[in-house]
């Protein structure tokens, strides 16, 4: 009889951090935010 599959270990904070940094979607809002802050600084 096959044993039930063991639950996969929950990903560590570090691997989730790597997933965020490696996600190209993440850098779009970051780039837009940085541009927004530059524009705000210029206006001020």
């Amino acid at each position: 009889m096959d044993s039930p599959p063991s639950p996969s270990p929950s990903p560590s904070t570090r691997s989730r951090g790597r997933a965020i940094v490696g996600d190209v979607h993440f850098w779009i809002p970051v780039a837009v935010l940085a541009a927004g802050l530059v524009v705000l600084w210029w206006i001020a």
Partner: protein, 419 residues
């Protein structure tokens, strides 16, 4: 990947579209309390006080509806979304501050349609990053894109009409500020969509979103107003208007909650244009309740309103078919794979089938109590401005507002249990 029952899909689409219209009504009504505020207060301070109200509402409402224990469960499932939520809040705060400068330089007439172009950017991000409108068919593409463009034209007519004061600032600076605000707000919906494709509950998402909002707004207020002592001095001097801005923030949060549900169930390409009907509601409050445009421009208002209504109607009737929803599921599966989130949890949350049980503890009642106490304290020192208000229209619009709240709330409860 399991196929979603077409009947269920239609229910979700209906509730998402209703949420989009309810969002427009409530976000527009948030402008009404700000009209009670007298001139002479720093725009950054006004924005900061509104964010304080937003912060209180964004923690007390989720505590009241679901309880903070449910928030903790959500965070355990998808902790990476805390970063996304805070990032979205930062985008909102910078965009909001930019709009203040844009209005100062080029006036509301030009600035409003420029930042309302965020819906076009939302359509681009939705299609490019999240498979929205993929396999939707040409007719739906035309309806959504055409509807957004028609709404943009309507918004322009309304904004030009509603502008009574000629701008006297730096035009280039104002246009850049307004366009940048639109880009920030349009991009802010990437975190929204990301959250809902990964199963996050809207009430959990907004609670963490507001941390980014408050932190960024505090930094901006300290920078622009000249340090903590100056911020405190200006806050103390403006305490008699604090209540109206806290209320504005609270109303805004109710609208934004509906907007979150719209983003979740119809996507950002349809949800953003629908909630952009807030401009129409803001103008109705100004015109009917506060007597703005009493002598001119009403014909243009009708034209602009009809254009906005036509555009919103076109989008509302272009709901996502099953084949497009499958592409959304693919995007959700990609997210659950990337961030190691349980695919069953993601699928159930996307279909509005797993709202999680509401559990209330002492912390929840404490949050509600503290928020209520702050509102009561602010009300006790509030000054009622001597303004000519049409109470009949104010009552009618307030009833309409609560009509949307009840209709949207009941539909969400019946269909998703606020999931």
């Amino acid at each position: 990947m399991s196929e979603l029952d077409p009947v269920r899909l239609r229910q979700l689409q209906r509730v998402g579209i209703l949420s989009g219209f309810a969002a427009g009504a409530w976000l527009g009504a948030a402008e009404a309390p700000t009209k009670l505020v007298t001139l002479g207060v720093s725009p950054v301070l006004i924005s900061f006080m509104m964010v304080l109200g937003v912060f209180l509402a964004r923690w007390s409402l989720p505590a009241l509806v679901r309880g903070t224990a449910a928030l903790r469960d959500d965070v355990r499932q998808a902790p990476h979304l805390l970063v996304w939520a805070a990032l979205g809040g930062c985008l909102w705060a910078v965009a909001n501050t930019l709009t203040i400068f844009a209005i100062k330089d080029i006036g509301l007439a030009i600035a409003f349609p420029l930042w309302n172009a965020n819906s076009l950017l939302g359509i681009l991000w939705g299609a490019l990053l999240f498979n929205e409108l993929r396999d939707a068919g040409r007719a739906r593409w035309i309806a959504v894109l055409g509807g957004a463009v028609v709404m943009f034209a309507g918004a322009t007519v309304l904004a030009v009409t509603s502008s009574a004061i000629a701008p006297g600032g730096n035009a280039v600076r104002g246009v850049v500020a307004a366009l940048t605000a639109g880009a920030l707000w349009g991009t802010m919906y990437i975190p929204y969509r990301k959250a809902y494709l990964t199963g996050m509950h809207p009430l959990s998402f907004v609670a963490f979103f507001t941390i980014g909002e408050l932190v960024m707004m505090t930094v901006l207020a300290l920078t622009f107003l000249g340090g903590p002592q100056q911020v405190w001095r200006e806050l103390a001097a403006s305490r008699d208007i604090l209540f109206w801005l806290l209320i504005a923030g609270f109303v805004w949060v109710v609208g934004d909650l509906f907007q979150q549900y719209a983003a979740k169930y119809v996507g950002i390409s349809r949800g953003i244009p629908l909630s952009n009907t807030n401009q129409l509601w803001g103008l109705l409050w100004g015109m009917l309740v506060f007597g703005e445009l009493a002598h001119a421009g009403r014909g243009d208002v009708i034209v602009g309103s009809l254009l906005m209504a036509a555009g919103a109607g076109a989008i509302a009737f272009a709901s996502a078919p099953s084949r497009e929803y499958r592409r959304w599921q693919e995007a959700g599966a990609r997210e659950s794979d990337r961030y190691s989130v349980d695919p069953a949890y993601v699928a159930a949350r996307m279909a509005g089938n797993d709202a999680g049980a509401a559990r209330h503890g002492a912390l929840d009642w404490l949050l509600v109590l503290v928020a209520t106490a702050i509102f009561v304290a602010a009300a006790s020192v509030a000054r009622v401005p001597a303004l000519d208000i049409a109470w009949g229209w104010a009552t009618a619009l307030t009833l309409a507002l609560f009509g949307f709240l009840v209709a949207g709330g009941v539909a969400l409860w019946r269909t998703t249990r606020f999931g």
